[in-house]
């Protein structure tokens, strides 16, 4: 599918955390410790951008479109989560939500840097910033759940809970991708998203089993968020081709694990899966909810005020 960035698997000198670990293959944690990632030497967005500009990592059109989807998901979520910094219920949560936002932003930068390698109409690569700041609403490929408003803390937690369990299953499989760069990004991301799962699951328990008020808010929050779950697991022509080539698993194939693992937490929290109708979605085709326009207006305003400027 593609050649790897210089820091990715296949190059020497990065060590191998996996040496000597018995029976470690198959789980997200084990695949995350492939040679391409070592502590302090993880695959950075800058490495990917460099590999793309040198032509040593080049996604094909399908992989680029897929990377754009994942990059946009993470970017829009980071933008939403960033709003909590200085507004969270506790200082510790200012830090935690900020950290999750920062992780998501890092994933977005990696995916977008890679996606940019295939998108230049004039034959040149686009940068992460070209893609983030100079595309219009209908050109974004994020699913609707990511642009859902923060609401109260329970809504943010409900959204994060769904997203992190989804992303974990997605990235866990993506570490096995035939595309070395996607696999490299996923190997780093899956470890971080594992913490996001832990954070949100703990809050689901606290809020659902805390006070009557918090339980009511948690139940309401899941009702608000759950209509956007289905879109995450919908297959389409792109994912069918990616699945056939081994670059990425079909979204529908993640659903059983997602249902099982989220179900365990919900059961412990004495919550039912909300009975709500799924929204049709459309973000993967550029058909977004009414929220995205405002997010982009705010995110892009300064960059667009000074086009061509360097920051």
């Amino acid at each position: 599918m593609s050649t790897s960035p210089e820091t990715a698997a296949g190059t020497s000198g990065h060590g191998d955390l996996n040496v000597g670990v018995k029976g470690a293959s198959g789980s997200g944690e084990a695949t995350a410790s492939a040679t391409r990632i070592t502590p302090g030497n993880a695959l950075r967005p800058e490495d990917i951008a460099l590999a793309v500009s040198r032509g040593t990592a080049k996604p094909d059109e399908d992989v680029a479109e897929f990377a754009l989807r994942l990059g946009d998901d993470a970017l829009i979520l980071a933008q939403r989560l960033g709003h909590w910094i200085s507004r969270a219920p506790e200082l510790e949560e200012d830090i935690a939500l900020g950290n999750i936002a920062l992780d998501q932003l890092g994933h977005a930068r990696s995916f977008l840097s890679y996606a940019g390698g295939a998108l230049g109409e004039d034959g040149t690569a686009k940068s992460e910033d070209d893609l983030a700041y100079f595309r219009r609403e209908h050109e974004f490929r994020s699913a609707e759940i990511f642009e859902q408003p923060n609401g109260d803390f329970a809504v943010t937690i409900a959204r994060q809970f769904v997203v992190s369990y989804y992303q974990f299953e997605l990235y866990r499989r993506l570490t096995q991708s035939t595309d070395a760069t996607l696999a490299g990004i996923a190997a780093k991301a899956v470890k971080e998203v594992d913490y996001h799962r832990d954070h949100s699951a703990q809050w689901v328990l606290r809020l659902a089993l805390g006070t009557d008020e918090s339980r009511e808010k948690m139940i309401h929050a899941f009702k608000v968020i759950w209509p956007y779950v289905d879109e995450l697991f919908r297959d389409d022509e792109l994912t069918a081709r990616l699945s056939a080539s081994g670059a990425a698993a079909e979204p529908s194939s993640l659903r059983a694990d997602f249902d099982r693992l989220t179900g365990e937490v919900l059961a412990e929290a004495e919550l039912d899966v909300p009975k709500v109708q799924p929204a049709p979605g459309g973000g993967r085709k550029g058909l977004h909810s009414e929220h995205l326009g405002y997010i982009l207006a705010e995110m892009q305003v300064l960059a667009r005020e000074y086009p061509g400027a360097s920051w």
């Binding site: 967005p45 970017l75 980071a78 933008q79 960033g82 709003h83 910094i85 200085s86 507004r87 969270a88 219920p89 506790e90 200082l91 510790e92 949560e93 200012d94 830090i95 900020g98 950290n99 936002a101 920062l102 932003l105 890092g106 977005a108 930068r109 977008l112 992460e128 910033d129 983030a132 700041y133 109260d152 803390f153 328990l205 606290r206 809020l207 089993l209 805390g210 006070t211 008020e213 918090s214 808010k217 705010e298 995110m299 305003v301 300064l302 960059a303 000074y306 400027a309 360097s310 920051w311």
Partner: protein, 343 residues
Amino acid sequence: MASQTLQSVPGEPTSARHEQSPEDVARRDAEGQAYFDKVMADDSRIEPRDWMPPAYRKTLLRQISQHAHSEIIGMQPEANWISRAPSLKRKAILMAKVQDEAGHGLYLYSAAETLGQPRDQMMQDLMDGKAKYSSIFNYPARTWADMGAIGWMVDGAAIANQVPLCRASFGPYGRAMVRVCKEESFHQRQGFEILLELSHGTPEQKQMAQDAVNRWYAPALMMFGPPDDDSPNSKQSMAWNIKRFSNDELRNRFVGMMMEQVKVLELTLPDKDIRFNEDTKKWEHGPLDWEEFHEVLAGRGPCNAQRLERRREAHHNGAWVREAAAAYAAKQSRKQAEKESAA
């Protein structure tokens, strides 16, 4: 520094004090004072369980909690630009920086808690307007260049103030400052780099950078506090080895540092009176508007109301979450206790 003899005169718990005769208390206080005086003379450290004069405790509690509040309120002007940062890399750096500030607030509150006041109480005093925070954060961050000016000048002034505090006589404060200063120094460099990029950018970007430097210069100099002849608490703080240099000494030193760095930025400082005095071997600057300083300190600055209201709002909106977490923790420990008694 003299060797640290920690807790050689531990302060006894209050309950124990009630059972002691007044003579015992007086004797303990005299021994405590003697130990404290020796620590000061040796330039060594007082730890939380050591005896300390009530005024020393009160001064430190006020200073450390104000410092913590400044970190927390100081998150706001920069958080204001996270959503609009002009590149994803800058967005990531800014997010990490504001997150660091929350972390500084946390360790400073923890250091202050060792003096006997819970964080909730300090937070309440902040929201009630009883506790102060650095006035600098009552100025608005109007443009992206303010992210550069805040990092370079405001964090720069904070470092100049805080590096000597790493040697503060109260152990937890000094140790917190070591970590805070390391991160602040990184923050200052990122602010400098933002300005450098802007000053080498388009003419509009360069103007944006110059405007921000012009706006933050005087407020940054005033961060060191009133002039020495108008700073009544300084003398005692220096005697207690909390403060090491006077406000004016630190301010002058900071002006000298900025004068060198502003040349690299190819920008100017909005003060024609800056000069190096060959006789005193010190930097000097033009007059500052101390009336404005006192106005902002008294709550009449551009953003005082906004900053406090944001803090109150976040605290108020989060009340049900904190209650839920406390209720859940209590239920969990009850369950655990039942399990253990059944076993």
